[in-house]
C-alpha cells in the first residue's frame, strides 16, 4: 500500500496562465456581448431574469464553498484537507459574487424589470386602481429598502465569515499550531447557525418573491439543496480539472468516492425537498398554492418540468449508484457537468415563469449569460486559487487526508 510514505510537492502552487485564462476571459466577453445584445434588442426583462439567474447561481456556488468549509471544520473532518484550498478559493470569490447579485437586484428593482409583482405604483394603496390586497398585506416585509437591507446584511455576513476563515487559514499556514484551527471550529459553528436561518430567507427574497402571491415554506430548503449540490459539483469538477492539468497528486479515488457520495446523496435530497414541496401543494390543492405548479404545467414549460426531474434525480441516481462510477474521475466529471446544467434548468424553472412567463426564450441571451458568468467564476476562482499553495500544510488533519481510504 505504501500509505506511510508519500512524495508530494506541498509547495505546489497553481499557475493561472495559458488556456484557462484565455478561455475564461473569452467567456466573460461572450457574456458581456450577450447581455448587451439583450438590452439593445429590447429584451430588457428577459436579460434581467437571466442576470438574476446567473448571479444567484454564481453567489450560491461561492456560498456553498464557504458552507463546505464550515461543515468540515465543525465535523473536524480529515478527508477533505487535501483539497480544502478549492472551497477556500470559492469563498474568497463570494464578496465579488455578492456584489454582482446586489447590483443586479438593485438595478432590477430600480428599472422595474425584476420584482415588479410587488414593487410597483399603488400596489399597497387602497385608492389606486393597481391596489393588490395580498401585496399590501405583505408590504411590511416586501418593500425595497428592507429587501435591500436584508440582502446586504446576509451577503455581507457571509462575506465576513469567508474573510475570517481565510484569515485563520493563512495564519495557520504561517505559524502552525492548533489555535487557528480551534478558532475556525468556533466561528464555523456560529456561521452555520446564521447561514441555516438566513439562506431560506435569502431564497424567499431573491427568487420566491418574483411571484409574490405565492408562498412555500419548503422553498428555502429546496434552494439550499440546489445550492449545496451545485457547490459540491463545482468543487469536484475543479479538482478533476486540476488533476487533469497535473496538479494535486495527493488526491486519489478515495476522495472522489466521498465527494461522489455527497453528490449522490444530495441529488436525492434535492428531489426529496422538491417533491415534499410538490406533494403538499398537490394534496392540499389550494388555488393560492397550486398557481406555482399551474404555471409550470402550461405547455410552454411542461417538457422542461419533466426534464428537470430526470436530469437532476433519475440520471444521477442511476449513474452514481455504483462504487466505480464514484471513484472514476471521468464518470464523476460527466455527472457533475450534467448536474450543473440540470440545476441551471432548475433555476430557470424557478425564475422564468414568474418573470417573462410565456415570453420565455432559449437563445443567445440565455446561453451567453450562462457562459459569461461561468467564465467570470472560473477566472476569479482560479485567480484566487493561484495565490496560495494548493495544500494547507499546517492543517492538523493533513496526514489523515493523505491516507484517506474507503
Amino acid at each position: 500500500m505504501g500509505t506511510n510514505n508519500h512524495s508530494h510537492n506541498f509547495n505546489e502552487q497553481f499557475e493561472f496562465t495559458g488556456k484557462a485564462k484565455t478561455w475564461s476571459l473569452i467567456a466573460i466577453l461572450i457574456g458581456i456581448l450577450a447581455i448587451a445584445y439583450g438590452f439593445f434588442t429590447d429584451h430588457a426583462e428577459r436579460t434581467f431574469a437571466n442576470l438574476l439567474l446567473m448571479s444567484y447561481y454564481f453567489t450560491c456556488v461561492c456560498a456553498a464553498g464557504l458552507f463546505f468549509l464550515a461543515v468540515q471544520y465543525v465535523a473536524q473532518a480529515g478527508w477533505p484537507t487535501g483539497f480544502l484550498r478549492v472551497p477556500q478559493a470559492f469563498s474568497r470569490v463570494l464578496p465579488i459574487a455578492s456584489l454582482i447579485l446586489l447590483v443586479v437586484c438593485a438595478s432590477g428593482l430600480l428599472t422595474h424589470n425584476l420584482y415588479h409583482h410587488w414593487n410597483g405604483e399603488g400596489l399597497s394603496d387602497p385608492a389606486s386602481e393597481n391596489y393588490d390586497p395580498i401585496i399590501a398585506g405583505k408590504s411590511g416585509y416586501l418593500n425595497v429598502p428592507f429587501f435591500l437591507i436584508r440582502l446586504v446584511l446576509f451577503l455581507g455576513a457571509y462575506s465576513f465569515f469567508a474573510y475570517l476563515f481565510n484569515k485563520f487559514s493563512k495564519r495557520e499556514d504561517l505559524y502552525g499550531g492548533l489555535v487557528n484551527y480551534d478558532k475556525s471550529i468556533k466561528w464555523s459553528a456560529i456561521f452555520l447557525i446564521i447561514f441555516g436561518f438566513t439562506t431560506p430567507i435569502w431564497a424567499f427574497d431573491t427568487i420566491m418573491s418574483l411571484e409574490a402571491h405565492w408562498f412555500s415554506t419548503m422553498f428555502g430548503w429546496y434552494n439550499f439543496a440546489a445550492m449545496w449540490l451545485c457547490g459540491l459539483c463545482t468543487i469536484a469538477l475543479t479538482i478533476i480539472f486540476l488533476k487533469k492539468a497535473g496538479y494535486m497528486s495527493w488526491i486519489n479515488e478515495n476522495h472522489f468516492h466521498d465527494l461522489g457520495k455527497f453528490i449522490f446523496g444530495f441529488s436525492i435530497f434535492w428531489t426529496y425537498v422538491w417533491f415534499s414541496q410538490f406533494i403538499l401543494i398537490y394534496y392540499a390543492n389550494m388555488p393560492e398554492e397550486t398557481v406555482y405548479f399551474y404555471k409550470r404545467w402550461e405547455p410552454e414549460y411542461l417538457p422542461w418540468f419533466w426534464v428537470n426531474i430526470v436530469i437532476n434525480f433519475v440520471a444521477p441516481v442511476l449513474m452514481l449508484m455504483s462504487r466505480n462510477s464514484k471513484r472514476k474521475m471521468n464518470s464523476l466529471m460527466v455527472v457533475c457537468i450534467m448536474l450543473l446544467l440540470g440545476h441551471w434548468l432548475d433555476y430557470y424553472m424557478m425564475i422564468m415563469p414568474g418573470t417573462v412567463a410565456e415570453h420565455r426564450g432559449f437563445g443567445i441571451i440565455e446561453i451567453g449569460t450562462a457562459i459569461g458568468f461561468a467564465g467570470l467564476f472560473i477566472f476569479l476562482m482560479l485567480n484566487q486559487l493561484s495565490k496560495r499553495s494548493l495544500v494547507p500544510v499546517n492543517h492538523p488533519f493533513l496526514e489523515e487526508s493523505l491516507h484517506h481510504q474507503i
Binding site: M1, T3, F275, F278, I279, Y282, Y283, N285, R323, H403, Q405
Partner: protein, 178 residues
C-alpha cells in the same frame, strides 16, 4: 500427524500483523482468516477479500418494499375501495410515493439487519463462537488452516519472526463464550 486444526498467531500491533501477512504470503502459506479488534485500512486488499454482496441484498430488499407498497396501495385505493379524495383520480400516483419510499426504507433496514444476523451467526440469544477469545479484545490474530498447510513448525517460525507474541495450536475450530 498432529491433531492441530488451526494455528493462531497473536500480534499486539497492527503493523506487525500486516508484516506477518506479507511474510506468510511470501512463503506460500494460505491464511484462513484474520481477526482484529478494529478496522485496519488496506487489509481487505492484502487478504484478497472480495467486495461485500450486502449492497445487492439491500437493493433487492428495497425494491421488494417498493413493489409491496405499490401493489398494496393500488389494490386498496384503486381496485378494492376507490374513494374520492379532493376530487383526484383514484390512482393519484404522487400520493403513493411517500408510502412507497417509507416501505422501501423499512424493508431495506429490516432486511439488512436480518441478513447481517444470518451472515454472522449472531442471532439474539445465541452464544457467539469465535476462534480466539482475545481476538475481540486486544489481540490481532491470524488464523491458518493447519490441514491445508504442512510444516507447522515453519509457520510458527514465520509468525515469530514477524513479531507474534503468542502462537496457539488449536484442536477445535471455535471456542465459545459459554
Amino acid at each position: 500427524m498432529s491433531n492441530t486444526k488451526y494455528i493462531l498467531g497473536h500480534f499486539e500491533d497492527p503493523d506487525d500483523l500486516m508484516h506477518g501477512i506479507d511474510k506468510l504470503h511470501e512463503n506460500n502459506v494460505s491464511i484462513y482468516d484474520v481477526f482484529t479488534p478494529m478496522p485496519i485500512h488496506g487489509i481487505e486488499d492484502k487478504l484478497g477479500i472480495k467486495r461485500s454482496r450486502l449492497p445487492k441484498v439491500a437493493f433487492l430488499f428495497g425494491i421488494t418494499g417498493t413493489i409491496t407498497a405499490f401493489s398494496m396501495l393500488y389494490f386498496m385505493l384503486v381496485i378494492d375501495w376507490p374513494m374520492n379524495i379532493g376530487g383526484k383520480p383514484a390512482f393519484a400516483f404522487p400520493d403513493f410515493i411517500p408510502v412507497m419510499f417509507e416501505l422501501t426504507v423499512l424493508f431495506c433496514a429490516f432486511g439488512m439487519v436480518g441478513t447481517f444476523f444470518y451472515a454472522t451467526h449472531l442471532f439474539p440469544g445465541r452464544a457467539p463462537r469465535v476462534m480466539d477469545l482475545r481476538a475481540t479484545n486486544d489481540r490481532f490474530v491470524i488464523a491458518i488452516d493447519a490441514k491445508e498447510n504442512p510444516y507447522p513448525t515453519k509457520i510458527d517460525d514465520i509468525l515469530k519472526d514477524a513479531g507474534a507474541v503468542e502462537i496457539k495450536h488449536n484442536e477445535r475450530k471455535y471456542v465459545s463464550y459459554e
